[in-house]
Structure formats: C-alpha cells, structure tokens
Amino acid sequence: MFNFEITALGNMFFGLTVLVFVSLFFVPNKHRSVTLYSLLFASLACIFYASDLITLFIGWEIMGWSSYFLIAKTADKQTLQKYIVFNIGGAFTLLGAIILIYGACGSFVYSELDFSAVPSGQVTAITILLLLTLFVKSGIMPFHYWVVDSYSQSNDLFSAVLSAIISKTGVFAFILIFFQIITVQYLQTPILEVVAWLGVLTSIIATFKAINEDEAKRLLAYSSIAQVGYIVTILSIMGSLSLEAALYHTVIHTFVKLLLFINVAAIIYVSKQHRFSTLGGLLYKYPLNFILLVVGIISLAGMPPLGGFSSKFLIYTALLEEHKGLLLAAVLFSSASAFLYCYKLVYGIYLGQPTNPKTEAYPRIPLRFYVPQILGAVILITLGTIPGVIVPMFNGILGSVGFEPVLYRGVFVLGSDFASFNGGVVIGAFGLIFVLILLFFVRLKNRSVKPKDRLDISYCGEVPRADVNLHYGYGMGRELSRIGLIKMILSRSSHALWQRVSTLFGDLSGITQKLYTLSAQNMGLVIFAFFTILLYMGVK
C-alpha cells in the first residue's frame, strides 16, 4: 500500500513544505491543533514521496480532510460546503482517473505505467479527470469557487499553508503526472492549449477580482489564484525551459505568499481589522513589517531586483521561445495589472491616514511573526541577487523527469541560451537608484509638514466631516468597473450559481424523502405494483 520513493521533484516540494511548516511553527495561533497539522504534514510527505498512485491518493485525501478540520473552526457553513464538495469531488475525480489508469495499464506503480498501448480516447479521459483534480486544488478558473472563501476564512496561519503549500500540490501532481507518467507524446495538444488559456484567463480574472477586493486576505487569495494560473499556463507548454520556469515560480510564490499572509496576519493580530477601509497609516507604527511587505510585493509583482523577477523572466522567455505571443501578451497584461493590487496592500495598510481612531492603541507585533517573514524575505532577496543558486536543483529534477536541462549553471547569471540576465548587476543598479532616491527624500523630510489629525487636509479646498472615509483604499478599483470587460468580470459571481445548485439538490432530496415516509399500506402498494410491473416485463 504505502510505497515511497525519494525523487528530486519530491525533495524540492517537501523541502518547501518543511521550511514553511517550521517557520510557521513560531507564529502564535489560537487554533493550533498539533494532531491535524502533523497529519497534514504527513499527508504532504505522502504525496511528494509516493511511488504509486494509491499512496498519492491517500496523501491527497488526508490532506483534504485534515485541512477541512483546520478550516472548520473558523469558516462559515457555506464555505465549508463549497470546500468539501470541490475538494472531495476533486479527490474522487483523481480516484476515477487512478481507476481508469489501473484499467488501462493494470498497475498503480509509477514506473510500471505504460501508456503506449492505451487507446487515445482513454488517455484523454484520464487526462481530463486528472486536470479536474489539479484545477480544483490549485483553483484554476471554473473550479476556484472554494478557494477565496476558504483562504480568507481559515485562521491566519492556515491561510498561509493553504496558499503556500496546498495550492502547490496541484502543481506537483501536474509535473509528476504529465511530465513523468503520461509523457508528452501521448498528450493531445488541444487539451494543453485549453489548459494554457484557462491558466492565463484565471490569472487575469483573479487579478481584477483582487484589485476590487477590500479584504486583505481575500486579495491575497485572489492573487494566489492568479499566480498559480501562471504556473499552470507555463507548465502546459511542456518544454524544458517552461518546466524550469514553473519550478522557479513555484519556489518564489511559496515564499512570497508565506511572507505576505503572515505579514497581513500580524496586522490582523494586532488590529483585529482585516479590511483596507478600516486600516491605514500604520507605516510609522510597524516599519519593519512594512519593509518586509515591500519585499514581498516587489517579488509578487515580478519587478526587479528581487526573486520574483527571476521567475517572471523565465516565464516570459519560455513563452517567447515557444512563440506563444498571444499568451505572452496575456501574461504580461495580467502581470502588469498585478501592480494595482500590490499597491493596494501597501497603501491600504501602511500609508495614508489611519481610518481607525484606535490605531494609536494597537499593541506591538510579537516578534514571532517575523520568523517566517524574514525567512521569506531572505530567500527572495537571495534569489534576486544570485538567481542561479537553485538552478542545479531544477536541473536535477529535469534530469529525473527525463528532460534536458537548459538553464546555465552560473550563480549570478540566470537564463538559457535564449536569454539571460545577471542578478548581481541588476540588484546593484537598483540598489544604487534606491539609495539615490532615499537620499533625495531624506533631504526633503525636513521641509514636510506633519498633519495633526486625520481630517487635517490643509491643502485641499474643502473640509471633510468625520464620517467621510478618506482612505485611499476605500473604493479603490471602483473606477475599473467602468471598463466593459472588467465590469463583466467583476459582476459575475459564483454565489448565485452555487445557491441554485444547492437548492436544486435540496429540492430533489425533499422529493425522495417523501418516498421514505410512505405508510405501511402504501409501501405494500408499491411492492405489489413493482411485482406486477416486473411480472409484466418478464411475461413480455
């Protein structure tokens, strides 16, 4: 039953898991359940090191239900129902795919699976089922309903786990299954084409949803969906460079989301506020937190000089190399729009006027919140400076999956024959510019005027009342909805559909329930009617 195998791919994901779990261990948390977290950890190990599909499935399911119990304490009824329907449903499609694979190949063990003799229709069915599973776990668009609510309503620590690790299991399984088990030549390109576009559309839609979001954790959840969307898009190209890009982005995104979720969690912990409209102006109170956030969002937006740029660079070059111009444009569009919500994080929480009068009374952030953040920041900065340092690990994975590594083995230089950049030079240049700007502002500081209270806007023409929300984050993104396409994206909500489906099933259930309350006599009538019908059918 339980068969394990240590692989380079498993090592990478498991390494990420260990780092995330260990650093999160320091974070204070009200709902700390050691049993459930260790179960979750064990299940992740089970997924990453499995050597047959059953072990993978066991890990997958344990991950599903242990996360459920972790969420259940804080989430509301509907969120939980969505979570369970999507995740158990996803697991069952995985089981269905596994059973199909067993029917086709007669085995569960990775190394014994051979799809060369399997009819292509069956391979397509298997592929679609597996993709459904992966899409559900990583929240690709039509299957993302559960993600945002679950991320935002679970406790702050677990949101980080969900986004940093659990959404990556989908990526892991994608690489494992489509790069290693069902190898490239058996996969139909139309499916991959669809997957690529689904991924990129997901990232665009999620980005705009994020911009319009007023709740910090929901914003991060949408951002997480968008980022995993890139990964799926780039994976679906199925080339060496794209695989390395996907792996790189996985690593970056794990630490970015670890950093950002814990960063926000720290603010929520001290302020008990989780909406941008009730936060703001915390820069001078929590400067360290602010700096860490900046590190996180620079990486999230994929700007040089931090780690995010390295992975985005690889993604763009991979798309260019395969001549996927349209996809590249879409990714660039979504990536550029991501600046908007990144800015919202900075402004909404740290800049502007504090909207909440209690701001002065907020306590200090416990130091333990900084452990995962600093870990993330150090890694992101390192990967920005010496981006080539983890390339050997990726090359090892590519080798084990049967692909030719294409990335250079330099430390400062990241890139393939196609394009490359020197992380040291980039960070040096940006560092210089940064220092210059800093000096400029330090000079300006003496001349700036400090406001006395939040309503003191002495340079404006009018004097606002106390109930006017002056916060910039309040209503941000509202103007965007004037643009037709974006308005369409924003106005669509899964809620109504979900409501309709659950009402439908409830009504059906009500009808069948009526049957089970038949009186004894009607029961007898049913029995004899059934007997007569069968008799009639038999006689005929």
């Binding site: 329930q513 089970y516 309350t517 009186s519 004894a520 006599q521 007898g524 009538l525 004899f528």
Partner: protein, 128 residues
Amino acid sequence: MLETLNQTTFLHTVVAIGSFTIFTIGLVGVLSKKNLFKIFLSLSIVESSLFLFFIGSHFEVGKAAPIVADGIKLFDGHMVDPVPQAMILTTIVIGVAVLALSLTFVVNYYRLSGNIDIDKMDELGEVQ
C-alpha cells in the same frame, strides 16, 4: 362429467384459481382497509390461500394420507408427499406467532394513542 371433475389436473386448476381468488381478496383487504385488525386478518387470509395452494397442488387423486401405520413401513407412491405438509404445519405455527405478536403491538399502540387506523399513525417521518 363427474369423472373429469375427479381428475388431478382439473383439481389443480380449481386449487390454483380458488387460492388465487382468495389471495386477491386478502390482498385487496391488506391494501385498502384502514383498520389494523382488518389488515392483519387479511394478511392471515393471504397466507392461508398460499397454504391451500401448496397442499392442493401437491395432492393427487387417489393418494392416501402420509401416515405410517402398522402394515406400512415406508412412504411410497400411494401416499401424498409428506414434506409440504410438514412445511405448512411449521408455517401455520409461525404465522400464528407473528399474528399474536402483531396484535399485541396493535393493542399496546391503541392503549397509548387510542387509534387503530393506519392512516392516523403519524408518529414517524421526517422532522421539519
């Protein structure tokens, strides 16, 4: 005329038709009557019709009762097959046991609820 009446095949037909009629009457009683006593009476009649059918279908004209008397040591071709009779004996006894039990329940139910109408038994069902 009377000769044909005495033939086994004819008798079997009579038994089949007769017991089927009684079965149907009982069945209609079970399904249409609202009084619990009536339902259990009808069930007994349905059962009895089955017994009649079984014993009757096994009977062949001219065969004696399967009783091993002084001279006869073995069951043979002149006797009716004893197995169905043994079966029916057992079944009748079981039937009465079940009947007594069900009537106990009916009486007890009546004492608690003052009702022996099957349509008024609404204690069970989905809570809302």
